[in-house]
């Protein structure tokens, strides 16, 4: 059963497979479960962030604050653990709700004052980045038995691959997001909002609650991504994750979500992150290419996908205009 709405998804999947195939033919050890699992564990924080971004973009909004929220979450975690000797789990228990509240606040401002999400989340970005820098200008290293435990935690997979905690967290977020978007009323409301906010409201969608929930979810996921990022770097740094919001947006678009809202898939976003990851892996395997080539290729891909979206959705959706 082929539907036009799945077309961008198929294109991303095919590109991913083609690139992976080329890499496998060119380099030994490219096609290994280890490389694949590394794709997930290296990009887990980005995937978690990008899932949040997908919800926001499908609803017709944008969240520029996520990179800064990741940094703030990482720095706050490190400060609580190293300077206040909190147990990491206690730190998480404080930081996750705080991050969620931050997003809910942005959502409330966007809804109540009818402001552009772009500008509100831009303000949120400066605020979070500034707060992070105020907490600590230096990178703070985390040295805690819990982090050693996290680093050792995981499951051995065939081919010397390792399924680590970050990947597991990502996987559960992903499953929940799929359930949310396709099997819950909230998910339908998010799509409805992205289709046409006015119509959605007339059809009885609770616009205020949904808007606030969306931005709260995005900030929650960015905060979680910040924690996952500390598992990866064992530190918190105020200038970490600069530009991650843009990577996330790129992944969402490459994954076939319409930047104008209303259409898209969480699964597509994951494919988008993986595609970007494979390009990166390919370039690092090659060795001779500068890592900036990743950006060039992603730039070209983005152009391609934007034009594709325009082609698929060029005709504005028909609606009745009255006299």
């Amino acid at each position: 059963m082929f539907k036009q709405r799945y077309l961008p998804l198929w294109i991303t999947t095919s590109l991913l497979m083609v690139l992976f195939l080329i890499g496998s033919m060119q380099f030994d050890g490219f096609a290994s479960s280890r490389v694949v699992m590394n794709l997930f564990s290296d990009n887990a924080f980005l995937m978690i962030t990008a899932i949040g971004m997908t919800l926001v973009i499908i609803s017709g909004g944008i969240d520029l604050s996520v990179g800064a929220v990741i940094a703030l979450s990482g720095v706050a975690t490190s400060v609580l653990i190293t300077q206040y000797q909190w147990h990491p789990l206690a730190a998480f228990a404080l930081i996750l709700p705080a991050g969620t509240l931050f997003g809910a606040l942005m959502g409330t401002i966007i809804y109540s004052y009818r402001l552009q999400p772009f500008i509100v989340t831009l303000a949120g970005m400066f605020l979070a980045r500034g707060l992070a820098t105020t907490l600590s200008e230096q990178s703070l290293e985390i040295d805690h038995p819990f982090y050693d435990f996290v680093a050792d935690f995981g499951f051995e997979l065939p081919g010397a691959a390792w399924l680590d905690l970050s990947t597991l967290i990502f996987a559960s977020v992903f499953l929940l997001a799929i359930l949310l978007m396709h099997y819950s009323r909230l998910g339908n409301n998010i799509y409805a909002l992205g289709g046409n906010e006015h119509s959605a409201q007339l059809m009885g969608v609770p616009v205020k609650r949904t808007t606030i929930t969306i931005y709260a979810a995005s900030s929650f996921l960015a905060t979680l991504a910040g924690i996952v990022f500390t598992f990866y770097t064992f530190s918190g740094y105020a200038l970490a994750a600069v530009g991650v919001e843009l990577d996330a947006i790129a992944a969402v678009v490459i994954g076939g979500t319409l930047l104008t809202g209303g259409r898209g898939f969480v699964a597509g976003t994951i494919l988008g992150v993986l595609l970007m990851g494979v390009i990166q892996t390919y370039i690092s395997f090659d060795g001779s290419l500068s890592s900036w080539w990743t950006k060039i290729v992603i730039g070209l891909l983005l152009f391609f996908f934007i034009v594709l979206q325009k082609g698929l959705n060029g005709k504005p959706a028909k609606t009745i205009t009255s006299h």
Binding site: R185, Y191, S199, A200, Q201, L202, M203, G262, I320, S322
Partner: protein
């Protein structure tokens, strides 16, 4: 018997406008109640108040002897009032099934049950004889199908009161009959249906009771069976036929004004979803009036003339030469100008000055590389401000700050500056005060004397009859008759509108 829903003394004010004033409306279970009135009468506002989309300024909404306040459409829906708005308010990006059940999705174990949703959607649509893929995006289907889906959604919410705002506007005759069958079925189940339409024959076919609004006030509530169509049109247009006996002294005089040369000829013009087989001759130096109820095709004639709607057959010619009108600029170059009906959205550019608004069309006609110097612009603006007596201290005032009548004059000036052969005026006197009315009418007369041809649409019949050499009556997007000479009285026009 008690009404299921009663609105008492409803008033609604927007800044500067009284949209509704002391309107009563009631509806009983198991009846179709038609809500009628011309454009701007307040029908849509009343519906919005009734369904929670707008809050009322004063009055009461009573259900089962209890006064209710609807802050949101959801609140009204919870009280059993569901609405299908005039513009389809569905979501083209969602599937048909999702559109039908948004907010009421069938669930299983707390999750949405897609299978049940598909089955229920198909069952529901089969009542409307719609056999479509309910999992495809709504955007894939025609406007008529979307309209039926919107109505099906209203029905699915098992409402006590179902409000249908212009449900038949985009349906063909067969689809209308299907809809009526469903309405009859719902009526027999005790659902109260508020039916808003401008098709009078449909009113008589399906409705039991009629409420007429005019200028935001209630004219009356009638039983359909006891209200002849002529009386209904009277109620809607507001003039009693007896008072409208021919008043003009010498209607034939005006025929002398122009010679026999035709400025514009419509021959057998049809456009998809618009006018059908329309013939019209507009002689040079004459004013031709277009009359008919809202939706009868008045505006569509202007749109076809101005290149907004593409013709599917027939031709429009100017001075014997057939015109190729695929966009408004073609029309402007051919010497045709249009003052649109909706001044606010299609006419003025509110933040720009009067001068800039006036020179807009002329500059577009000249092309942007032949820039009008500021001095020339100023001279032109001053000339028209003086000639049309636009009340403003200077030409640099943003047009948005002027009154409606003065805005209308500026738009007129914009098109006069182009010096068109034919000027189409769609409702030139809508929403402006009486004084400005007279001035605009006087202007129309003097323009004709200067040899310009005019095509004027108006719902003010008396006005139309006063200045037009000939009035063309439209009904259901077709020409019904042409009235001129002794026949041209508002009484005759009204009869033609009512009886066809």
């Amino acid at each position: 018997m008690q009404p299921v829903l009663e609105l008492k003394h409803i008033s609604k004010r927007y800044p500067g406008v009284k949209a509704l004033e002391n309107v009563d409306f009631r509806i009983f279970a198991g009846e179709v109640h038609a809500l009628l009135g011309e454009n701007g009468a307040g029908k849509s506002t009343l519906v919005k108040v009734m369904t929670g989309a707008e809050s009322k300024t004063a009055g009461e909404i009573i259900i089962d002897n209890v006064a209710h306040e609807f802050a949101t459409p959801i609140a009204a829906q919870k009280m059993g009032i569901s609405t299908v708005y005039q513009e389809v308010n569905l979501l083209p990006n969602l599937s048909v099934a999702h559109n039908l059940f948004l907010g009421h999705e069938p669930k299983r174990y707390g999750l949405i049950d897609h299978k049940a949703m598909t089955t229920q959607a198909e069952q529901l649509l089969s009542r409307f004889k719609l056999d479509i893929d309910v999992n495809a995006d709504l955007a894939k289907y025609s406007v008529a199908v979307q309209q039926l889906v919107a109505i099906a959604r209203g029905v699915a919410m098992s409402a006590q009161v179902l409000v249908l705002d212009e449900p038949t506007a985009s349906l063909d005759a067969e689809e209308v009959q299907t809809l009526f069958a469903v309405m009859e079925q719902l009526r027999s189940q005790g659902v109260a249906i508020v039916f808003i339409t401008h098709f009078l024959d449909q009113v008589y076919q399906i409705s039991d009771r009629i409420t007429v609004l005019r200028n935001g006030k209630q004219v009356g509530e009638y039983l359909t069976a006891e209200l002849p169509q002529t009386k209904l049109v009277e109620a809607m247009l507001g003039k009693e036929l007896q008072q409208l006996t021919a008043r003009r002294s010498n209607p034939d005089d005006k025929h002398m004004a122009g010679d026999d040369e035709n400025a514009v000829t419509f021959s057998n013009v049809s456009a998809k979803g618009s006018i059908q087989e329309f013939d019209l001759e507009v002689p040079k130096g004459q004013a031709i009036g277009l009359a008919g109820l809202l939706g009868s095709g008045r505006t569509e004639v202007c749109n076809a003339l101005f290149g907004i709607d593409t013709l599917s057959s027939g031709s429009i010619s100017l001075g014997g030469k057939v015109l190729q009108l695929s966009q408004p600029s073609d029309a402007i170059h051919a010497g045709i100008a249009l003052c649109p009906e909706d001044r606010k959205t299609d006419g003025i550019i509110a933040p720009l000055s009067i001068r800039e608004n006036i020179i807009l069309a002329l500059q577009a006609k000249l092309g942007w590389w032949r820039y009008l110097s500021k001095t020339k612009q100023q001279t032109l603006a001053d000339f028209y401000i003086d000639k049309l007596q636009i009340a403003t201290p200077d030409a640099d005032k943003p047009i948005g700050q002027l009154s409606g009548g003065n805005q209308q004059k500026v738009i007129l000036a914009r098109w006069l500056a182009v010096e068109p052969t034919l000027l189409a005026l769609d409702e030139p006197t809508r929403g402006i005060d009486i004084g400005a009315h007279a001035e605009i009418l006087a202007l129309i007369k003097s323009l004709c004397d200067e040899g310009m041809s005019l095509l004027v649409t108006s719902s003010e019949l008396e006005e139309l009859v006063a200045f037009a050499n000939k009035v063309v009556v439209l009904r259901d997007r077709k020409k019904v008759t042409e009235l001129k000479g002794q026949q041209l009285t508002s009484q005759h026009v009204m009869q033609a509108i009512a009886e066809g």
